[in-house]
């Protein structure tokens, strides 16, 4: 077989060109990775192969999360959650706060009280996130739960009404998810087609990773250095609630921060609950609710919502996974 000299010289030239493209071709599309402390955690936004102007969009996404934090934190002059707590009657709030509360009430109702945004007094009583956490007396817990329950907040448009004037609103189990959603929307509206908004392990992935879905590691609840599973997903939010996140120990017993609103004590049926949902606000609320309800009722709750899946580690270490995740999970 004869080859022309042209073809023979072309072969190494083409190989050289391919190498140069592989090595330097994507130089104008470097990743943008920014981090900020927000909402009591480290928020990281990653945009791989970022087009020009992405850094500005990321800055605006962080500013939006900060705005949501100010709006929904339990205290502070600009907080609508604090204004609801202080109100003795119906109060008009912005459409975003009303939207978050309406979503939270839906989860509260469908979970039979496994989720509650009126636990402000209970959380203050335990003080788990303060310098001096303590185990309250049973009568103190009963008192802090007065007025709480699946119907403790009502919305009518942008008007919010508490069932009990003493109710202290805490949107901590849903507001972070909403802030993630807002940041993701800013990025999408700015033309970003691939990104991760990660707020301390609660996250939203935009698009895919390029030639494959995003690979989302799920932390093992009892081995901080190990993975429980890896999920291959695109365009979803993933939130994990676990009893290992924040806790204290007293008299040889561990008390974590995920309270069962029906008892006022840390929920004891699960070690961790991961929820995959179309929005981070929904995933956030459902992860808390399903953690509280445990394997059977928790996974049944997820079925009430469209495109929602879950992975739960029960208190005894048994792993439960919903049908829709079975083809997307990889075990270590």
């Amino acid at each position: 077989m004869r080859y022309s000299r042209f073809f023979i010289l072309l072969l190494p030239a083409a190989a050289l060109a391919a190498f140069l493209f592989w090595r330097f071709g994507a130089a104008g599309e470097e990743s943008v990775v920014r981090r900020q402390f927000l909402m009591g955690t480290l928020v990281e936004i990653t945009v791989p192969a970022a087009p020009s102007g992405t850094a500005d969009a990321v800055d605006r996404a962080f500013a939006e999360m900060r705005r949501v934090e100010e709006l929904m934190r339990p205290d502070g002059p600009g907080s609508e959650a604090a204004a609801i707590t202080a109100a003795e009657g119906p109060i008009e709030v912005g459409s975003e706060t009303a939207e978050v509360i309406a979503l939270g009430m839906k989860v509260a109702r469908l979970s039979g009280g496994g989720f509650d945004m009126g636990l402000g007094r209970l959380k203050t009583l335990w003080g788990i996130e303060t310098e001096h956490p303590r185990v309250p007396k049973p009568e103190e817990i009963l008192s802090a739960l007065e007025g709480t329950g699946p119907e403790d907040l009502m919305t009518d448009g942008n008007r919010v009404l508490k069932s009990d004037p003493r109710l202290a609103v805490d949107l901590g189990a849903i507001a972070k998810g909403f802030a993630i959603d807002r940041a993701a929307e800013i990025l999408r509206n700015s033309g970003v087609t691939r990104a991760v908004v990660n707020a301390g392990g609660d996250l939203c992935v935009i698009g895919d990773r390029g030639d494959r879905p995003w690979r989302i590691g799920i932390q093992h609840p009892r081995d901080p250095g190990a993975l429980l599973a890896t999920l291959s997903l695109e365009n979803v939010s993933v939130v994990t609630s676990g009893d290992y996140e924040r806790f204290f120990e007293a008299q040889g017993q561990r008390y974590h921060h995920l309270f069962d609103p029906r008892t006022g004590y840390p929920a004891g049926l699960a070690q961790s609950m991961t929820v995959v949902a179309p929005s981070a606000a929904l995933a956030d609320a459902l992860a808390t609710a399903a953690f509280v309800l445990g394997p059977e009722q928790g996974l049944a709750l997820l079925k009430e919502f469209s495109q929602v899946e879950g992975l739960l580690v029960a208190a005894d270490g048994t792993i439960f996974i919903s049908e829709g995740l079975r083809e997307k999970v990889e075990w270590p």
């Binding site: 080859y3 000299r5 023979i8 010289l9 072969l11 190494p12 190989a15 050289l16 190498f19 592989w22 090595r23 920014r34 981090r35 900020q36 402390f37 009591g40 955690t41 480290l42 990653t46 303060t130 310098e131 991760v196 990660n198 301390g200 392990g201 609660d202 996250l203 992935v205 990773r209 995003w214 690979r215 989302i216 590691g217 799920i218 932390q219 993975l227 890896t230 993933v238 939130v239 994990t240 676990g242 996140e245 991961t274």
Partner: protein, 130 residues
Amino acid sequence: MALKSVLRRMTLLDRAIVMVLGMFAGSLLLGINSRAPGENILVEREGKIIFTAPLKEEREIRLKGIRGEAVLIVREGGAEMIEAPCPRKVCMGMGRIDQDGEIIACVPNGLLVRIEGGNEPEKTYDVLSR
């Protein structure tokens, strides 16, 4: 010589293939060696880098955070927070970091310590949910 004999018997196509294979091997070596050579420690406060230094230079750094002074120690190619003003001292519990991309986050004190440069260990995931 044997090499001359081999070269004499090679066709132009044989030589081109050898050249391509040689370039491929060379590109792999170049790829490995072109990774970021620096291994630095960086400290950020409110999104701004307030301290950076080579990880190989051993030192003790006093860092001013929102809540007070924290102490970071750099030794034997790694870094560790040894004092923190916050009550729960979570950053001290994070232990030692020495790989590219690893971080120590002191959330209440608003400090982020991270390592840059060197060869990042291969991860099996893009992002961690916890």
